[in-house]
């Protein structure tokens, strides 16, 4: 007797369909799993056999062959346990073959017969939906994550017996209610708001321009200047995620196993702070079974690198390609995993090892120590930073000063307006933001008037700009003009953009 149940595997952040086929025939009794499977899947043999027995189902003494199709893609993970058990039960006649037809199942089983949580439920259900599947059976522990997708009947089970009884029609389960729209509406609440930041006008302005054009942003300042807090506030001035973006971001977290019952879906822009001891793999992703790194977890949000010079050179160099391509490609054996990595990079650093330069009364570093500190960041990496601001220590005067600073909501309105202008400008060109323009596009979209051209030429000479710096100033000036709603790049925008270039 033969039976097939649909399940799913994960590659990158996407799921591909896997048919779990079982055949029970007479012959020498054995239990064989085939189909290019990893050791976790091979071990399913013992898990499933014991779990079925403890759930009260004795496997027949017969030749049992399980095949995971397609057989030419390597399968790993424990998600195939439940579909395997269900297809065996169907072959045994416990469940009617029609009941498993057209359903999707995934889940790990324990020896007791319980069903445990797995990673990557969200992309699996998204995949099932595109295949036209109507019913899904997933572990109860993944309930809220499974409920994200609308238009799908998602049933959660906590044991094999429950799943078997449900499919055999012996008991009724209620599908979990989709909550995405509700979550999105309740959506983007951020712990940090620009209203908390007193003073720091330069950094605020820099952050606003950076968010408006999705420019990479670096802050240089002494310890205690509030660089980290400002970075944490940046997601709050980025437009709310749309449904598509939300699912994309949530998929990354699902694959990484970072979604839980409290946070079944990511509705606010992620803020990921990478520690300076991070390795290149932890930043860009990798491993024998590739998992997304910090740059992908920050997809559509902010990747924050504090103490930039303390990062290993190797780690920073590894970030360069993903930042350029806005995705990470990891090649393993026959597979290529693609993780999205469309994030805004925000970095912070001290001006010198002690952090007090240029306050000569406090700085204890000498020139060569400072030079060595700065030289830890490679030129090509700094070239990816469009906006640089210098922050100063906050004084008690700033903290006590009367009027409240502007809140994130007001800044967000201006950012959204600037995004709208850019969306219109770049329609059909494959990019969305000013920071993504290449030199050709800069020539096209940042055309200067005669006066502005003359000013830019003068500034290029005065500040000894490289071609790269020149283009970067133009890009930032474009964003400044978009923020002020002017069609042409103004002289004022150019003069301000020059102040925001990286100049060390």
């Amino acid at each position: 007797m033969f039976c097939s149940v649909l399940s799913g595997g994960i590659r990158g952040i996407e799921s591909f369909p896997v048919h779990v086929e079982t055949d029970i025939s007479s012959g020498m009794p054995c239990f064989e799993i085939v189909g290019y499977v990893g050791s976790e899947v091979r071990e399913a043999k013992d898990r499933v056999r014991t779990a079925l027995r403890n759930a009260g189902y004795m496997m027949p003494v017969a030749r049992i062959t399980v095949n995971l199709s397609p057989a030419d893609i390597r399968k790993s993970g424990s998600a195939y346990d439940l579909p395997m058990a269900l297809s065996i039960l169907t072959c045994m006649g416990v469940i009617d073959a029609a009941a498993v037809n057209g359903i999707f199942a995934a889940g790990e089983v324990s020896l007791s017969g319980n069903v445990c949580a797995i990673k990557g439920i969200l992309p699996m259900i998204m995949m099932a939906k595109t295949l036209g599947v109507k019913k899904c059976i997933i572990p109860a522990a993944n309930a809220r994550e499974g409920a994200v997708i609308e238009g799908m009947e998602v049933y959660t089970v906590s044991s094999i017996a429950e799943a078997a009884r449900f499919l055999a029609g012996e008991c009724k389960l209620r599908p979990v209610v989709s909550s995405l729209s509700r979550d999105l509406l309740a959506g983007h609440s951020y712990d940090n708001d620009f209203i908390q930041i007193k003073g720091q006008k330069t950094a605020r302005r820099g952050a606003e321009i950076a968010a408006a054009g999705l420019h990479n942003f670096i802050m240089v300042g002494p310890p205690g200047a509030g660089k980290t807090l400002i970075a944490k506030c940046i997601p709050s001035i980025m437009p709310p995620l749309c449904e598509e973006e939300c699912l994309e971001v949530s998929s990354v977290y699902s694959v990484r196993g970072a979604l839980d019952a409290d946070k079944p879906v990511i509705t606010s822009r992620p803020f990921v702070s990478a520690h300076s001891s991070s390795t290149d793999i932890s930043l860009v992703g990798g491993g024998a079974r590739p998992i997304p790194g910090a740059v992908s977890l920050a997809h559509k949000g902010v990747l924050f690198l504090d103490e930039l010079p303390e990062f290993s050179r190797k780690a920073l160099e590894a970030l360069r390609q993903p930042l350029e391509d806005r995705m990470v490609h990891i090649t393993r054996n026959r597979d290529i995993c693609v993780f999205p990595a469309d994030c805004m990079l925000v970095a912070a650093m001290n001006p010198c090892p002690c952090g007090h330069y240029p306050d000569m009364n406090r700085c204890t570093c000498n020139t060569s120590q400072r030079a060595r500190y700065m030289s830890k960041i490679s030129g090509p990496f700094l070239d990816r930073m469009d906006i640089c601001v210098v922050t100063e220590k906050v004084t008690p005067f700033d903290i006590q000063s009367g009027s409240d600073p502007e809140c994130s909501k007001d800044i967000l309105e201006r950012v959204i307006a600037a995004h709208r202008i850019q969306k219109k400008r770049f329609e059909g060109s494959g990019i969305l933001f000013n920071s993504q323009m290449n030199n050709k596009e800069i020539e096209k979209y940042c055309r200067l008037g005669d006066k502005q051209q003359a000013l830019m030429k003068k500034m290029a000479l005065r500040y000894d700009m490289s071609a790269r710096t020149y283009y970067r100033v133009l890009k930032v000036a474009r964003t400044i003009s978009d923020l002020s709603g002017t069609d042409d790049i103004t002289e004022e925008a150019l003069l301000e953009a020059v102040r925001l270039k990286v100049s060390f």
Partner: protein
């Protein structure tokens, strides 16, 4: 073999035995004569220790190597001046710790021209930078030679400013004159090697820079100058060694005053308290040199260009004036200016770029601005 090679050989022995060596060659009647003396003979010279006699005898074997080195040195355009030579600086001849000889790339300072040594902190402030540029530039315009140690900070800034003003400058190094130390001063070093300027050291070419060699080098700086001008020095600064040596040699020590709140001026203020002369203006320094008043009052150090030359496209913004007035030598951020003037930050940033383009402001460190057109 030339006598010169024996002088060179003797000069390589001076480390630690300087006084004895000068006495010994004096008594023997030259370095060659000393070379030809046996160890017993050397020991008989009064004031010569057994150790030195043995050391000299041991090093006699080096003479072949020394000859090679000497040839190579001549090829590299480095000359050697022995303390007995006519062209040995007379200012040094009178000092207690006269070097045995000097290695020179370029030239030695002119004997008849006034010289001022400008020394100070390596990690200087913008104030120190401005003062070093001002005094060095103006002294150079007045034909005064500027002596210093080519170090990072005040030393190098003063020497660069003197050269930029078309004057002469001489660096005394604590390593061989063929070594650029610090390496970042490569440009300055190259300029000092030509056009009548000079790089000087008592150490033979190839000698690496070592901390112990810098205090002795300072005595040559102190010896070569008529006036020692200290720009910035912390309370415990290497510069104070130079000051002590200059005082020992009877040189005039002048101090650029600073503020009590600046730790970089603490050493300077102590020296003023001890009776050093404050360098209140270029005239004050010129007076000490006995050269009378500052000769040229024209081109000030921070020459301000015409803010709006014909054809300029930068339109004047009313606010730039107020911002120009608020800038001082104290670096300050755009934000602090905006707070003080109660102007939007954006306008201040725009105005600062304009002022910088006009030459009225300068970004001394990313994000921090100073006044750039001091009319001193």
């Amino acid at each position: 073999m030339e006598d010169r090679i024996y002088d060179y050989w003797a000069a390589t022995l001076q480390d630690g035995y300087l006084g004895a060596l000068v006495r010994l060659t004096g008594a023997a009647g030259g370095a060659r004569a000393m070379y030809e003396m046996g160890e017993d003979e050397l020991r008989c010279v009064p004031g010569i220790s057994e150790r030195l006699a043995k050391y000299i005898t041991d090093r006699k074997a080096d003479i072949g190597l020394i000859e090679e080195e000497y040839m190579r040195m001549c090829e590299n355009g480095i000359s050697y001046v022995n303390h007995t030579d006519d062209d040995f600086p007379r200012r040094l001849q009178n000092t207690a710790s006269m070097p045995y000889g000097l290695f020179v790339k370029g030239r030695l300072p002119d004997e008849l021209t006034a010289s001022v040594a400008i020394v100070g902190a390596r990690e200087c402030s913008e104030y120190g930078r401005l003062m070093a540029e001002y005094f060095a530039g103006r002294l150079a315009i007045n034909g005064v030679q500027v002596i210093s140690g080519m170090a990072w900070g005040i030393d190098g800034i003063a020497q660069s400013a003197a050269l930029a003003a078309g004057g002469k400058s001489y660096a005394v190094l604590g390593c061989g004159v063929d070594i650029t130390y610090p390496a970042n001063n490569r440009r300055l070093y190259d300029m000092l090697c030509e056009n009548g300027n000079g790089v000087i050291s008592e150490y033979s070419p190839g000698t690496r820079p070592e901390a112990r060699r810098f205090p002795p080098r300072n005595r040559i700086i102190a010896g070569l100058c008529d006036v020692l001008l200290v720009v910035e020095a912390r309370a415990k600064s290497g510069t104070l060694i130079t000051v002590d040596m200059a005082v020992d040699e009877g040189r005039t020590v002048m101090i650029v005053p600073g503020r009590l709140t600046d730790s970089l001026s603490a050493g300077c203020l102590n020296l003023l308290y001890q009776g050093a002369l404050p360098a209140t203006s270029i005239d004050a320094v010129m007076e000490q040199l006995g050269s009378g008043k500052d000769m040229k009052q024209s081109a000030p150090s921070g020459h301000r260009e015409d803010p709006h030359p014909a054809g300029s496209t930068v339109s004047p913004l009313q606010d730039t004036a107020g911002i120009a007035d608020i800038l001082t030598i104290e670096p300050r951020s755009a934000e602090s200016i905006a707070d003080e003037l109660k102007l939007p930050l954006k306008d201040v940033m725009i105005a600062l770029t304009r002022l910088e383009m006009e030459g009225a402001a300068k970004e001394s460190y990313p994000g921090f601005f100073i006044k750039a057109d001091y009319m001193l």
